[in-house]
Assembly symmetry: C2
Homo-oligomer: 353 residues x 2
């Protein structure tokens, strides 16, 4: 039996509550498909930071690197500033493991209220490919004239041909693989004088290698509006770290699935483990009550299966989610109109397998 | 009779078509309210650039500075890269005239199809206050290793206390003036390591001076989603140059008013003329056919009247727009389901005064 080593990082808040249902679903699908999972659970979190001054131990990355994949819950805690907690764990994992692809589905699911008028499941269904290691997310910069009236801050984004080309190529390859040869690029070359004209140039160069693929390029402001006005239009959307971040919350917003959308941080070359997480955060306001929606975490596990080379298992998990959501009588958590606990909702999905 | 000197810059594409209806409406309201307008029209545009190599003459800013306000159409032309055309006219005007406030209403109008389910006119009604002179829009940076595999680009954002405080203060003052004491801030301090923690710090400092005002702060990704999920929630939203740009297209997207929303570039101290423009661009695809929607330009003229100290006239113009839109039998352009030309639609609004 094929066995995968999974590093499990529940993290903070509801991360700790949505993880057990995801592991339960993995165990169920494992039995069905004849695959095994060996979990190493690490409690690295903001609590670790408050106790030790760092989010993870010095050999943390080493330990993670022994695994086939990482399943992450959520990171963040009211008393730890986000830029500390995230730059102390989430962002280093993305970068040191060269998880340069952040892949996020935007998909209107059954049983979830869509905020847009007149849309039904299946109408909205596309992918966001976000650059995940460079660009606007950067520690380059700092403060000047600190504490005086002249105070300010500089923040420098860096885009390389290496980093830009590989994410754009991934988007074109994905469009080909999905047999949906249409790639849309997020830009802002009319305002960001250096970075985005470069991005556009690389996008056009890459597009020339995929003559069968339809392309279009949208300034991020109007692109955000188009996500609301005509989400059916999109197949694969590629964007920089920041633009991809914005679009991949906006997309789930448009489909009403913020609480359930997943996010895959992928190192396509498989030199390092990839990491799978829900889009939602640690939600301290509802943590500890066993009412968080576990679908994002379970859907993340489904994407992990795809990546591990078990696409059939991944598909079955996503199908089970959809089956439960489509059945009005099945349990669901309060955020999507039900009364079930996190555990009960997770159990229903595991049972639907 | 009070007479205002208005610099008129139709610019490119549909800018040239939506300007005449706006001037017609201004003339009508002028007659009603007993105010006069003296227009100086300048044809500065991408065509000027193609003919002369620059978007405006060397003394362009000097000439504009002789006016009480600037009414701009739209800038942009297929054969001139946006970062050339915009950094050659629009952005220098915003900066050299210290128009540090970009104010944009998000308002669900009658007769306009809202892409969201179950909303009616009046449900969505808030203001976006965008920083307009510094931040992410910057020429600081450039290319390295040009033409090699190591090629890349750096782009540096600069935020000053001066620039940050004044825009945040404007937002708090606006909330007070509107008697809607609630300000939401757009941040991304969990990803942008230097700039946004600084922004948050200044926001909190300013908030302390307005103890009666409710505040909240949202990462730009989730904020974008909230614009779709609960736009009723917002009163005044303040954001940096880039975040404000994105939100102020997304907001009109959510209300279905992209083609009709206005944008005011304001120097609140009135040391320099302020500039009023529609949010839409030059739309080369429909230019020359007299079918562009003139409402954005007319609404921009209404905001100009507010700024000139003629709020009653401004209110009447907005009212006329709403009256025509609310009447299903009144003329409207094809983009919002009618058959009228730009001219006819503009005439109807002028007549409704
Ligand atoms: C044209 C472009 C530079 C501009 C901007 O981003 O400021 C436009 O999108 C706007 O919002 O006025
Ligand atoms: C938590 C934060 C740093 C992160 C990001 O912006 O990358 C989150 O919003 C996400 O999208 O995974």
């Amino acid at each position: 039996m094929k066995t995968y080593k999974i590093a499990v990082l529940p993290g903070d808040g509801i991360g700790k509550e949505v993880m057990p249902p995801a592991l339960k679903v993995l165990d169920s699908i494992g039995k069905i498909c004849g695959i095994g999972f060996q979990y190493s659970e690490y409690d690295w979190s903001c609590e670790t930071y408050l106790a030790t001054g760092s989010m993870m131990p010095a050999d943390g990355m080493d330990r993670l690197s022994q695994h086939d994949a990482i399943l992450l819950g959520a990171v963040g805690y009211p008393t730890v500033p986000d830029h500390i907690s995230l730059w102390g764990m989430l962002i280093p994992i993305r970068r040191d493991f060269d998880q340069y692809v952040n892949l996020r589905p935007v998909r209107l699911l059954p049983g979830i209220r869509c905020p847009l008028a007149d849309r039904k499941p299946g109408d909205i269904d596309f992918w966001i490919v976000r650059e995940n290691t460079e660009g606007e997310y950067s520690r380059i910069g700092g403060r000047f004239a600190e504490g005086t009236d002249a105070e300010g801050v500089v923040q420098t984004a860096v885009f390389t041909r290496h980093g830009t080309d590989r994410i754009i190529r991934y988007a074109f390859e994905l469009a080909k693989k999905l047999d949906r040869p249409h790639v849309s690029s997020a830009t802002k070359s009319n305002g960001l004088f250096h970075s985005m004209p470069f991005w556009d140039e690389r996008f056009e160069k890459m597009a020339a290698q995929y003559p069968g693929t339809r392309i279009d390029s949208h300034h991020i402001d109007i692109l955000a509006a188009r996500f609301v006005l005509s989400p059916e239009y999109f197949d694969v959307v590629v964007g920089s770290n920041l633009f991809g971040d914005i679009l991949s919350d906006l997309g789930p917003g448009v489909t009403g699935t913020i609480a359930v959308a997943p996010s895959a941080n992928i190192n396509p070359e498989r030199r390092y483990p990839s990491m799978f997480e829900p889009v939602h955060g640690s939600a301290p306001d509802i943590a500890g009550r066993n009412i968080a929606n576990p679908v994002g975490q379970i859907w993340a596990a489904s994407m992990m299966l795809d990546h591990l080379g078990e696409p059939e298992a991944g598909r079955m998990v996503l199908k089970a989610i959809e089956t439960v959501l489509a059945n009005p009588a099945a349990p669901r958590t309060p955020d999507i109109g039900g009364k079930a606990s996190t555990t009960q909702f997770g159990d229903a999905i595991a049972a639907a397998l």
